[in-house]
């Protein structure tokens, strides 16, 4: 018999084999993806709900905060073009809005916050979702590293007054960290802006997602 096919066309055979292995590899990934995607979606939803639940009096809340949300647009106050706002309700009564602003001027880049504003304008709480601040210095904004972020609960634009919404070094009433002023300064400013936004928009933030008011909040991009 003549030379086998594999010897006569080595490159073609090699290419074919590589293609086959790639298909097999992609197939494995596809199968795993399908098998895990429901559980993954559930995990992500649960992680989000856990994060939101610490910021509002959870025993009152009856709606599903993860799905009862709208997109708003206010780059100046909320740090990005599109910001998600989650709503907490007890039956029909609004309880709180939870905004997810971006802190644009962190020491090592932007940070993501969750800011819960209760119906009376006071803060249910603030948490940092992600950041790149310096370990040991700026990372004290994390709840796990220090209690600083917990101090926002209960504050509002009357407590302290707007002039007091700065770090102590800038003449305000919020502590900074030894050796790290930029980070707390940026967070305090972002929380103040979020409070100003919430006060400005008021009840419109609780409007149903498909209503005219909610769409107006989303800006011209809807």
């Amino acid at each position: 018999m003549a030379r086998p096919l594999t010897a006569k066309f080595p490159i073609a055979v090699a290419g074919l084999l590589l293609g086959l292995f790639s298909v097999a590899g992609a197939g494995l990934v596809a199968v795993t993806h399908v098998a895990t995607k429901d559980r993954i979606a559930h995990n992500e939803r649960q992680a989000l709900l856990d994060r939101l639940a610490v910021l509002v009096p959870a025993q009152q809340v009856t709606n599903d905060m993860a799905t009862d949300r709208i997109q708003v647009s206010d780059p100046d106050r909320l740090g990005s073009d599109r910001t998600t706002v989650y709503r907490a309700r007890a039956g029909d009564a609004p309880v709180a809005v939870i905004l997810s602003p971006v802190v644009p001027d962190g020491y090592a880049g932007p940070m993501n916050l969750l800011v819960a504003v209760l119906r009376d304008g006071s803060l249910g709480g603030v948490r940092v979702v992600s950041h790149h601040e310096t370990p040991g210095l700026g990372d004290k904004i994390e709840e796990a590293k220090s209690d600083w972020i917990l101090g926002f609960a209960g504050k509002s634009l009357d407590n302290p007054s707007p002039a007091g919404w700065k770090v102590k070094r800038d003449g305000g009433e919020f502590d900074q960290f030894t050796g790290a002023t930029v980070t707390p300064r940026a967070v305090v400013k972002a929380v103040k802006n979020a409070l100003l936004y919430a006060r400005e928009k008021g009840e419109a933030l609780y409007a149903p997602a498909d209503s005219v008011q909610a769409r107006a909040l989303g800006g011209s991009t809807g």
Binding site: P10, V13, G15, L17, L18, F21, T32, P135, G136, K145
Partner: protein
């Protein structure tokens, strides 16, 4: 190919050719995720799983892979398994996956895996390849765990903080050894990881040297020496 004994694989994988302390491979994840023992254990086990799967697969296909394309094929195999492992972690160890972040995907670039595929799995049968993967992976994971424990202890004074991420729900095995969370910060940063790894390598070399000296002294005294290696 020389026949390799299972015993040699164990000794090589765990000590004499330990991929982290001797071959010095896979240092990127080694240094980046060993800031706590649990993180290190998580990534160590993920790497071990991929190494096992990859070694067995490469060994099974070794007669069908033409030499010219063997490296791309190995990479495809490894990448497929890493993606699958990452999805499984996302589904069953969600918080740990978030903490380890990009370093799970970076297991693809871990030279331990493609190194063992090329050096061992492509030249031996599946049973040996499986065992080699197990031992090399265990050796690597053990170094990760020890390094993670040291850095966590020195850097934040705890051990096994975050155990719930691996063992579910309410497991809080955190052992607070000293202080209130503020340890020697350098230990939690990459330079501290390098230094700690260097100390581990030095420690292993010291032990080896002492063993060799003891064996040489025994030989000189005419005492029969035990099995070498």
């Amino acid at each position: 190919m020389a026949e390799v004994s299972y015993g040699k694989i164990v000794r090589d994988g765990l000590w004499h050719n330990n991929q982290a302390l001797v071959a010095l491979l896979g240092l990127c994840p080694l240094l980046a995720v060993t800031n706590t023992a649990i993180n290190a254990l998580g990534l160590g086990l993920a790497t071990l799983s991929v190494l096992l799967l990859s070694n067995v697969t490469v060994s099974l296909i070794r007669n069908w892979v033409r030499p010219e394309i063997r490296l791309p094929v190995f990479v495809v195999v490894i990448a497929a398994f890493v993606t699958a492992v990452e999805l499984v972690m996302k589904a069953y160890f969600h918080e740990l996956h978030k903490v380890l972040g990009i370093f799970i995907a970076l297991i693809v670039t871990n030279c331990v895996i493609i190194g063992r595929a090329e050096a061992f799995a492509s030249r031996h049968g599946p049973a040996l390849a499986l065992f080699d993967g197990l031992m090399m992976g265990a050796g690597f994971a053990l170094v990760l765990l020890v390094l993670g424990a040291i850095r966590e202890l020195v850097g934040q004074g705890t051990l096994l903080a975050g155990a719930h991420m691996m063992f579910g729900g309410d497991a809080d095995l955190t052992i607070r050894v000293f202080g209130d969370g503020d340890g020697f910060l350098l230990a939690l940063l990459p330079p501290g990881a390098f230094i700690a790894l260097g100390l581990l390598v030095a420690g292993k070399n010291l032990i080896d040297r002492r063993q060799a000296a003891a064996a040489a002294a025994a030989r000189a005294a005419g005492v029969p020496v035990g099995q070498p290696g």
